[in-house]
Amino acid sequence: MEFAGKMISLVVLLVVPFVVLGDSCLSPEVKAETYTTTEAIVSTETVFIVQFTLTCKNKVRDMNLYADINGRTLPVTKTDKPDLYQVSISDDHKKLSSGKYEVRLYDEEGYSMLRKAQRSGESVDSVKPVTSITFNHPGVSKGPFVQSEFVAVVIAVLVWYFAYSTRSQLQSSN
């Protein structure tokens, strides 16, 4: 009887960690594809789309994730494909300037800890994310720096000036 009792407690001790950790992701693997707006002539706002697959060794699926990007905290969108998630933000071109951006992903637990830290004013870096994705935004192009018509006019004026000055030089020397 004592032995059975010990076995039961041993089994319970072995199972409990998995039950507790059942919801969090062990050794997460993430593969991401990102899109950032490149043309300001056509689009009115800059958008970032981070599409990623997150797989965990303990096969946790359909997780409720939250993303922290550029100071904004928002829920991650789930898709109809398993393990495929998407984070999207949009803002004025000026507010999303070129540079490196980091997306930190949190699970439910991490998110509540993050909110607690934000409310108490603590540093957000103390909360460890499940994983993070970095990407580069090359910036939006507003069109060529100098209009080609302007360059053509300048060159034409220079050619005319060269001809005119040579001509007046010749005339004055005669």
């Binding site: 706002e45 949009s90 053509a152």
Partner: protein, 188 residues
């Protein structure tokens, strides 16, 4: 007059939401095209925003976008069929998809479908629609380039074409100048 209209809309909105039951979720969804020009072969950005104006969280929210036929629009990035587990009351979520039109012409941007459960023990899901951006004209790529591209190649060709009318007289002048140019007479 405009201010009065805005005020009237706000009051009716507030009155409506005050009369709302405290434990039901209600979603409003908008669909916007974030483009100044719709051009064939260039990115078309569609943004969806879902607001929960109800008193409790909306559960099992699904957004299904089926109004872009595959032969007319190519998906550059983003998913057209997405979901959120819950949207808290008084918050909103946003989703962006980038497409590329493969044809030019008029296209009617219609609504996408949103479904959700307004409360934990709701019997069935509520189905609604986003706002529809309406009809837009997708400009052909040639027409857009004619107006907006820098035309560098065209200018180079033009420069090359003007060269004969400039260089031939110059060469003639230079040749005659070098042949008949007498050195200046020495001063005694």
């Amino acid at each position: 007059k405009e201010k009065l209209l805005v005020l009237a809309v706000l009051i009716s909105f507030a009155g409506y939401s005050l009369s709302e039951e405290e434990n039901v979720a209600r979603l409003l969804a908008s669909k916007n095209v974030l483009n100044q020009y719709l051009v064939e072969g260039r990115d078309l950005t569609v943004q969806y925003t879902i607001f929960n104006i109800g008193g409790s969280a909306a559960l099992d929210v699904n957004l299904k976008e089926e109004s872009f036929p595959e032969q007319d629009f190519e998906v550059v990035k983003g998913n057209l069929n997405v979901k959120w587990e819950r949207i808290a009351p008084g918050t909103n979520v946003s989703h962006v998809v980038v497409l590329r039109p493969l044809q030019f012409g008029y296209f009617n941007f219609t609504a996408a479908e949103v479904s959700y459960k307004p409360s934990e023990n709701a019997a069935s899901a509520v189905v609604g629609f986003t706002s529809a951006p309406g009809e837009g004209g997708i400009v052909g790529s040639k027409d857009f380039d004619r107006k907006f591209s820098p035309h560098v190649l065209d200018w180079l060709v033009f420069a090359i074409m003007t060269l004969p009318s400039l260089t031939i007289p110059f060469l003639l002048f230079y040749r005659s100048k070098s042949r008949y140019d007498t050195p200046k007479p020495k001063k005694n």
